[in-house]
């Protein structure tokens, strides 16, 4: 019987137990076989087996916690490590469908994906914190988002609304210069001097960037429909 066939014939509990044993050997710096852990992940993801996924969580939760703690942005997020551990596992579960599993040839590639999910979970929080700071400015005209607003689903919804708003702005721009100024200023958060230095072929000098910005802002301020959009979202 081939090794793969042998693994496939094992019951889930035995696969999980061997995975735990082999992982333990790995951390003791002894020879170990990664195929049992791969098989456990295969059953969880490719077979969509919730019980296998529970074993995966139990097995890898300590390792993922250590990854969270070692992320450079973790400390500034002011969240418990466990929060990001749960978000990372949720992301992996949601993103890795059975159809996608074939793209992961071994345990290493799956663990690398899980590491990426940790990074992604922490960046979600870092982006939300950055945006909350923008929204919190008293002159932003928008109420501070409540904690629920920073959930992944709400972030996705929020992103769609903000992309639609950019389309409204884009529709009111007359040329590439205006687009460059508005995109750079408000989507990327750049100052006119940085915009000029980034596109010296498009603008004669910094003053020209300011002139374009002044013109567009004056036009947008006269736009009643845009004013209504701003009020509606406020």
């Amino acid at each position: 019987m081939s090794h793969a066939a042998k693994q496939a014939s094992l019951c889930l509990e035995d696969v999980a137990q061997r995975c735990a044993l082999e992982t333990d050997r790995f951390f003791r710096h002894q020879d170990y076989d990664p195929r049992y852990c791969f098989e456990l992940l295969r059953r969880a993801i490719a077979d969509r087996c919730q019980r296998a996924w529970d074993f995966v969580y139990t097995q890898y939760q300590p390792l993922v916690t250590s990854w969270v703690r070692r992320h450079a942005a973790f400390a500034s997020c002011h969240e418990e490590a466990q929060y990001f551990v749960n978000r990372a596992f949720e992301k992996m579960w949601a993103a890795l469908t059975p159809a996608k599993f074939d793209r992961f040839p071994d345990l290493k590639s799956l663990l690398r994906y899980l590491q990426m999910c940790v990074h992604s979970a922490i960046l979600d929080a870092a982006r939300a914190t950055e945006r909350a700071a923008l929204l919190a400015r008293p002159d932003a005209g928008i109420a501070l988002a409540d904690p629920e607003a920073t959930s992944v689903e709400n972030q996705a919804l929020d992103r769609v609304q903000r992309q639609a708003f950019w389309k409204e702005i884009s529709a009111r721009l007359n040329n590439d210069q205006e687009r460059q100024v508005m995109y750079g200023s408000f989507v990327l958060g750049m100052k006119p001097r940085a915009l000029y230095e980034g596109s010296p072929d498009m603008f004669r000098d910094v003053t020209e960037v300011y002139r374009v910005k002044e013109n567009v802002l004056a036009r947008l301020r006269r736009d009643d429909e845009l004013a209504r959009l701003l009020l509606r979202d406020a």
């Binding site: 070692r70 992320h71 990426m116 990074h119 979600d124 200023s185 989507v187 001097r193 300011y210």
Partner: protein, 256 residues
């Protein structure tokens, strides 16, 4: 409300004032003129409203950026992300962070072991068999040049695995005050192409080649807990929890 003195700055000048890039005379005018200050505040409010709604509105979600980095996106989606990265410094920075992060994790001792086990390398952990507090046993002598500089009170430690012996001695670093140096000797193993690596908290601290007689030396070390690995083409030996004290003593630390 009227402007306190003409000429009244235009919106362009006020935008520069908001950015802290206005000419000194505009700066001073706005600070003295309530009307122009109010105009500047209104302009700033419009800018903040736009920033709050548009800032990073077109950036891919972190998960999408991550899948892009791992080469998992369909070609069209990957192309769109590539285009976005050419103009968005924020996403370019996040991709860089992800690359550094996964590299940092991959550089850990555990991950490198994973690779080596897969490549068929024998990975062994050497155990302390003789050293301070364990009692004298026959141990190979360090090379004369090393032994000659070794302090009498600093006894080396002897580690062993599979017939391979490693003697580790520690002495004050002659080159740098407050630093220590490790002197090692490995026997029972072909020393050719063997490399000594010293790790601390999953970070590679120093590397040294083992000479043809089996000697190696690593200097400039601060007191602390380290892990030493000796790796050759087909073997990797680890000495875990190697503590270097401020008095130049090496001893086996407790497992955390």
């Amino acid at each position: 409300m009227a402007c306190v003195s003409s000429p009244e700055p235009d919106d362009q000048a006020l935008l520069a004032y908001i950015d802290g890039e206005a000419e000194p005379e505009v700066q001073s005018h706005v600070e003295q003129c309530p009307r122009c200050r109010q105009r500047a505040q209104q302009l700033a409010a419009v800018q903040h409203q736009l920033t709050a709604r548009l800032y990073r509105a077109l950036c891919p979600a972190p998960q999408e950026l991550g899948e892009y980095h791992l080469g998992l996106l369909p070609p069209e989606q990957a192309e769109a992300v590539t285009r976005h990265l050419t103009e968005c410094p924020h996403c370019a920075r996040e991709i860089e962070q992800l690359a550094g992060y996964t590299e940092k994790l991959a550089l850990s001792v555990e991950s490198s072991l994973l690779e080596r086990v897969r490549e068929g390398v024998r990975v062994l952990v050497a155990k302390l068999v003789d050293g301070p507090g364990i009692g004298a046993m026959g141990r190979p002598a360090l090379a004369a040049a090393h032994a000659g500089t070794r302090g009498e009170e600093r006894e080396p430690c002897l580690y062993e695995v599979d017939g391979i012996q490693i003697v580790i001695g520690v002495q004050p670093d002659d080159e740098r005050a407050d630093s220590q140096a490790i002197l090692g000797l490995v026997t029972g193993l072909d020393p050719r192409q063997v490399k000594a690596e010293l790790w601390q908290a999953n970070r590679l601290v120093a590397t040294a080649l083992v000479d043809e007689l089996g000697n190696f030396a690593i200097s400039g070390l601060a007191p602390g807990r380290y892990e030493l690995s000796l790796s050759g083409p087909q073997i990797e030996i680890h000495i875990q929890d190697l503590e270097i004290g401020s008095q130049g003593r090496a001893y086996q630390g407790k497992r955390r």
